[in-house]
């Protein structure tokens, strides 16, 4: 009976994993820090990515997902990292028309403490772009920032896609 239940559990896990991968593809960061599932129709952008930044464009004209790994982050925790970043975005030289849409809240990403926030700013076209961003501080002064970005109209849809990325997030080390 126990053996049967274990087998069923394993089958369910495999099924869930295959469903997740069925709607996207597994992406492993070049530095090997994490891996996650990138939803289907989201395309890696070579010209905007580098050793520390990976950028994916979504199927619409205004949505994109990007993940940056930063070094020399001296903030004590994810909340401090988030609050410092947002205050700089709000300051002169920051993001044009910056608005904090949702305050910083804390969450866990695959067992690691993180902080998230939603803000918006004005593009050159004067259109308002919304971003849901998750901040993480790792050991060795490393920081990870995961961002979904979209226009206000379709932002909620992109956030739903973002859940796929977050729920499948796994740290490699």
């Amino acid at each position: 009976m126990v053996r049967y239940r274990l087998g069923l559990a394993a089958a369910l896990i495999i099924l869930a994993a295959s469903q997740a991968l069925g709607n996207g593809f597994m992406f492993t960061e070049p530095g090997g820090y994490y891996q996650t599932v990138i939803p289907e129709q989201w395309v890696y952008q070579t010209h905007q990515s580098d050793n520390h930044l990976v950028v994916f464009y979504g199927p619409d004209e205004s949505n994109l997902l990007y993940i940056e790994r930063l070094q020399h982050i001296l903030d004590d925790n994810a909340r401090s990292f988030a609050e410092r970043t947002l205050s700089l975005y709000e300051a002169p030289g920051g993001l044009r028309g910056f608005q904090l849409e949702e305050p910083v809240t804390e969450l866990m990403i695959d067992g690691v403490a993180a902080a998230s926030s939603v803000y918006s700013y004005l593009l050159d076209s004067k259109a308002r772009q919304w971003e849901y961003r998750i901040f993480i501080v790792l050991e060795d002064e490393q920081g990870i920032v995961i961002t979904i970005s979209d226009s206000e109209d379709s932002f909620e849809d992109s956030c739903a896609v973002f859940q796929t990325v977050i729920s499948n997030w796994r740290w490699s080390q």
Partner: protein
């Protein structure tokens, strides 16, 4: 009015001399003079900002980067009583200024021109900081006003008309700034600024590259009023180029054991210059005094035997650390030259020509911004370091006849007269921003053609251009 003021000043001087002779205190004088100096800068700064289009607020990332360069430079200054500030001016004009008291200004136009080359930004800021360290502005103001330092200190000490005097001094500083602090002051600031930059961990070649750039613009006669407050760039360029050697150590004789360590830590040395860091090409150039026609290359990816530069005598070649270029010693019209060849086999840049001299044994620096070569005139050979970004060569063997250069992390080992030698290179550290701010990425718009399929035919239409 002027003579009336001057008469008053002389009265103040007389009083001051009496007071000083009674109770002089060196530290108090020094503090008062510093206050006066800062007063000049503080008074002149708003007007200068106004004259140059106001303050320009850089995007956060650029500001953090610029601040870090500035901080490293300020950390190596000697005048601890000065609080340095940096302001970016909102003008296309390419210029930079220093007001007495540590007020440093750089224009948006100049920052844009030098781009993200931190060595050139450090050269600009180091030069302006050096003006303050040398008190060029303060001394010029005092000279112009016909005052001595002691008189000014005396006025402060006696608290007589200090506000008025500082106001006049600030106005004088602004007027003098338009003319520059003087030719000799500029030369001094060039050298000292370059030394600050190197001490702060930047490449001293930045000063030379900056001058090269200014010369290029000056010769193009662009109406940008480039560095119009500074003297001709050619003489300045020669001086900072000549100063580069001073940042390298003298060649030190090393033991056989140390030479072995150099060999072990070699980077792209003559023993291993053929390997393409990207693993595709294999060179078969001999790399000794003899030459061969062209570069024999084996393309392991395509399984092809290639010959690059087939009509040229090739004396040596080495891959850059990033594998983007081959540095090649080539003979053209009976003159040796240093060329860069890209991965397609095309000549990317003809860097140098060495008339009447033999050049061989090229090796790259670990950072890929310099090469070392053996250059000989038939009787004597030097280890010459060539900066790729500018036309600057320095003979680091410094009179010791040298050959077989091997570039390690911290310098160059070579075989010289009577043994092996090592010359230490300046320590260059990239800008590291502590607590960086995450980037905000925006989606780019592409003009995509429309694909029309008709049977076996695919037609691509021209993308429509529309103004957003």
């Amino acid at each position: 009015m002027t003579s009336h003021k001057t008469r008053n000043l002389y009265v103040v001087l007389m009083v001051f001399i009496v007071v000083v002779s009674c109770s002089g205190s060196g530290e108090a004088f020094h503090n008062l003079l510093t206050q006066f100096e800062r007063g000049i800068g503080r008074g002149a700064a708003p007007e200068l900002v106004k004259q140059y289009g106001g303050e320009y607020v850089l995007p956060i990332q650029e500001r953090l980067w610029l601040d870090e360069i500035f901080r490293r430079l300020v950390d190596v200054t000697k005048r601890t009583e000065i609080e340095y500030t940096l302001t970016v001016l909102n003008t296309q004009e390419m210029n930079a200024f220093a007001l007495p008291g540590g007020y440093i200004f750089v224009t948006r136009g100049l920052l844009r021109a030098v781009g993200n080359d931190e060595s050139q930004v450090a050269a600009v800021l180091g030069h302006e900081i050096a003006h303050v360290e040398c008190k060029h502005g303060l001394n010029a103001v005092l000279r112009q006003m016909g005052l001595t330092v002691l008189m000014e200190v005396g006025m402060f000490w006696l608290d007589m008309a200090s506000t008025e005097i500082v106001r006049i001094a600030s106005t004088t500083a602004l007027q003098l700034l338009q003319l520059g602090w003087g030719r000799e002051a500029e030369y001094e600031a060039d050298i000292l600024g370059q030394e600050y930059a190197v001490e702060a961990g930047f490449d001293g070649a930045g000063s030379v590259l900056l001058m090269d750039y200014l010369l290029q613009i000056e010769s193009a006669d662009q109406p940008l009023r480039v560095f119009r407050t500074h003297p001709e760039s050619y003489e300045r360029r020669e001086r900072v180029a000549a100063n580069l050697l001073s940042f390298w150590s003298s060649p030190q004789k090393i033991s056989d054991q140390e030479w072995l360590e150099v060999l072990n830590s070699r980077r792209n040395s003559i023993l291993d210059p053929r390997m393409d860091p990207m693993g595709r090409f294999v060179l078969t150039v001999e790399g000794n005094s003899s030459f061969q026609w062209g570069l024999e290359i084996e393309d392991t990816q395509q399984d092809l035997a290639l010959t690059w530069l087939p009509d040229h005598k090739v004396f040596d070649a080495a891959w850059s650390p990033d594998g983007k270029y081959l540095a090649v010693i080539v003979e053209e019209k009976e003159t040796k030259g240093l060329w860069l060849i890209d991965r397609m086999g095309n000549v990317a840049k003809k860097l140098r020509h060495y008339s009447d001299r033999h050049v061989e044994e090229v090796v790259w620096s670990p950072q890929g911004n310099m090469v070392a070569m053996t250059v000989s005139d038939g009787t004597h050979s030097d280890i010459v370091v060539g900066y790729l970004a500018g036309n600057v060569d320095i003979a680091v063997s410094q009179g010791k006849s040298g050959s077989q250069p091997i570039w390690c992390d911290d310098g160059i080992g070579f075989v010289g007269s009577g043994g092996s030698y090592f010359v230490r290179s300046p320590d260059v550290q990239p800008v590291v921003i502590h607590n960086p701010v995450p980037r905000v990425v925006e989606r780019k718009t592409f003009l995509s053609p429309t694909v029309i399929r008709e049977g076996n035919t695919i037609t691509l239409t021209r993308p429509k251009l529309s103004v957003p």
